[in-house]
């Protein structure tokens, strides 16, 4: 049984593509050159947050570390075309970890996901901008009722000046967190779509909301 990643059964779901079996969670950490304890900490936090809704994964690190994990390099996100409700083009958010992609550098693309109400993050309206660090599929083999979780490990950026538009440039700026953990695991259903960011100095980026009509209309 698969965990639904979208509220409506009519809307196409987000999907992980090019999955490869990489063994337990420690294998994924090795492939992505990450600390296992950090990854486990993020997993446990994710389980804790989602426990109220449905407890499909155990909160015991030992059990969790034994579950088979599949890694993926791309996430298919159906996004709505601007003012065309019946057209849902697919965006491919890629995360190749350290591997080169099509004879160019490794890809870790930028996405946004809904973190709360629209009152958060100023003009971003509750959408957090984050970089994909890993895409994974984890299967709970201990319980028959449990299914497959499709997850994304992301590095979340914080909006600068409360996510309000910069007066001069008319852009929203985001930056790396100076305190606390910035890595987070989210279900792929929470990922809304890709975002286009341009580096703007040390640990800061500009969110380019003029990249397409839908984004221009959403963030305005």
């Amino acid at each position: 049984m698969e965990v639904p990643t979208s509220s409506s059964c009519c809307v196409p779901r987000r999907m992980l593509k090019d999955c490869t079996n990489i063994g337990p969670l420690s294998g994924l950490c090795r492939a992505h050159e990450m600390e296992y304890c950090d990854m486990m900490e993020d997993m446990l936090r994710f389980i804790k947050q989602t426990a109220a809704d449905d407890l499909w994964l155990p909160a015991d690190p030992t059990e969790l570390g034994l579950f088979p994990v599949e890694g993926s390099i791309q996430l298919e996100i159906p996004v709505s075309e601007f003012r065309k409700a019946d057209v849902l083009p697919i965006q491919l958010a890629r995360c190749t970890c350290t591997k080169a992609f099509r004879n160019s550098s490794a890809r870790k693309e930028w996405v946004c996901f809904q973190t709360g109400g629209e009152e958060r993050y100023g003009d971003l309206r509750g959408q957090a901008v984050a970089r994909l660090l890993a895409l994974l599929k984890i299967r709970n083999v201990l319980s028959e009722a449990a299914g497959v979780y499709r997850l994304a490990l992301v590095r979340v950026l914080d909006p600068i000046k409360g996510g309000r538009f910069h007066m001069a440039s008319g852009h929203i700026r985001v930056g790396k967190r100076s305190t606390g953990r910035d890595m987070r695991i989210v279900g792929i259903g929470a990922v809304i779509g890709q975002r286009y960011v341009i580096p703007s100095g040390e640990r800061k980026w500009i969110v380019n909301h003029r990249i397409d009509l839908q984004t221009f209309n959403d963030i305005y």
């Binding site: 007066m167 440039s169 008319g170 890709q194 580096p199 100095g201 380019n208 003029r210 009509l213």
Partner: protein
């Protein structure tokens, strides 16, 4: 939108500079031939407009229909040729050339080609001598409008907004020149080019393979892509202004941003009551901030005049200095030379500021985007991109497939 290839027209020779004046007769012949060809093409339509035609309707019924020519999708050069107006004149309204970049909210009288024609055919005795003077500021060439005789058609209303030539290939091209001129400091230039080269892939965005200065010919699609990124790249390149630069940087970013916003909103396939209001505000903001790029609008002629005046001034100052040099010491001489240099630079800047302007036809077209959005519902559907694409498929591809012997017949038969 189906596009049918009806005829291939022979392109007449182009004239420029001196040859334009010497070949006036040939120019008139070209205009006459064009008019004859269009009479031939539009003749059957005229008959249908008068008598009507039974046609199948979308609801399955048949009705007596009167198909009326309602628009002409073409770039400004073709509009000029078919409406019989100069290259610097508006085929739609009576805006003088010197006011193209002026107040973008000011509305001008719509051109009345039928009235122009009647004025020439039946001139009042007092007006007869003044006809050339009357039409010269409007750039109208009397008798050259190929649509003037059509029933139920106002030639001025045939003009439609064109995103491809007006915004992407027109204003965005100008905007890039302004931005390049504005980024004088090597550090900012380098930052801009670095960001340009590092444009990341995104759905629907083709990543440029060359720096913007290295591209010799831009396609409309590439310019449209440029519009999606330019404001963010510029904002990143100008991110650390000092107090003296802050105002200039802010103005330049605002100016670029509103042009991009206008282009994006013009791409909307439908409009709400609010969006045309935004489209009115953007040109106003542009009008308020555009003077930051005034120095970048220097034409070759203005540059030559500035150099000429600078040379004259330098010689004059050198003569004056030669007369005074016997009385001055070397210590006094150096500050005087510096002072003269500053004066000359100030004089040159003043001349350039006085001569430069934003009076070009594509700037004037911006003022109509809001009203066109209200009237037509969508500006995007009138873009000549569709026609250019059809030209590629129907003519260029067909020509490649032909045996190159009497290719026109083979192109039309495919």
């Amino acid at each position: 939108m189906p596009i049918l290839l009806v005829a291939l027209l022979v392109v007449p020779p182009k004239f420029s500079g001196e040859s334009a004046r010497t070949h006036e007769a040939q120019r008139q012949t070209n205009a006459d031939v064009l008019r004859t060809v269009f009479d031939l093409v539009l003749g059957p339509l005229q008959q249908v407009v008068q008598e009507g035609m039974v046609m199948d309707c979308a609801d399955g019924k048949t009705g007596l229909c009167f198909p009326i020519l309602s628009g002409l999708n073409a770039d400004h050069a073709k509009h000029g040729a078919l409406h019989g107006v100069g290259s610097k004149s508006c085929p739609k309204c009576e805006v003088p050339c010197k006011e193209h970049g002026g107040n973008l909210l000011k509305m001008y009288e719509t051109g009345d080609y039928i009235l122009y024609g009647s004025k020439v055919l039946r001139p009042e005795p007092v007006e007869a001598a003044r006809i050339p003077e009357c039409f010269h500021p409007l750039g109208v060439k009397i008798g050259n409008n190929v649509f003037a005789g059509l029933d139920r058609v106002n030639p001025a209303h045939l003009h439609k907004p064109d995103l491809l030539h007006n915004i992407y290939l027109g204003l965005f091209k100008q905007m890039m020149d302004w931005v390049e001129g504005f980024l004088k400091q090597p550090k900012q230039q380098q930052a801009f080019e670095d960001h340009w080269k590092e444009i990341l892939p995104y759905p629907g965005l083709s990543v440029p393979k060359k720096a913007d200065r290295e591209v010799t010919q831009w396609q409309g699609k590439e310019r449209r892509n440029l519009g999606r990124c330019i404001s963010a790249i510029l904002a990143s390149a100008l991110r650390n202004p000092d107090s003296s630069q802050y105002h200039d940087f802010t103005s330049s970013m605002q100016c670029v941003s509103v042009l991009v916003d206008l282009s994006l909103m013009a791409q909307y396939h439908s409009h709400t009551p609010d969006t045309p209001v935004y489209m009115e505000r953007y040109p106003q903001t542009f009008h308020r901030t555009k003077k930051i790029f005034l120095e970048c609008r220097t034409s070759k002629a203005t540059r030559a005049e500035a150099n000429f005046q600078d040379r004259d001034l330098r010689e004059l100052m050198a003569t004056q200095r030669a007369n005074e040099v016997r009385q001055n010491t070397a210590a006094k001489h150096r500050p005087q030379v510096d002072q003269e240099r500053l004066e000359r630079a100030s004089h040159c800047t003043e001349l350039i500021r006085r001569k430069n302007h934003f009076n070009f036809i594509k700037m004037h077209s911006l003022s109509r985007f809001a009203s066109d959005g209200r009237h037509f519902g969508s500006i995007w559907m009138y873009s000549t991109e569709i026609g250019e694409q059809a030209h590629m498929e129907q003519i260029k591809e067909s020509y490649r497939r032909s045996n190159k012997n009497e290719a026109a017949r083979q192109i039309l038969s495919q």
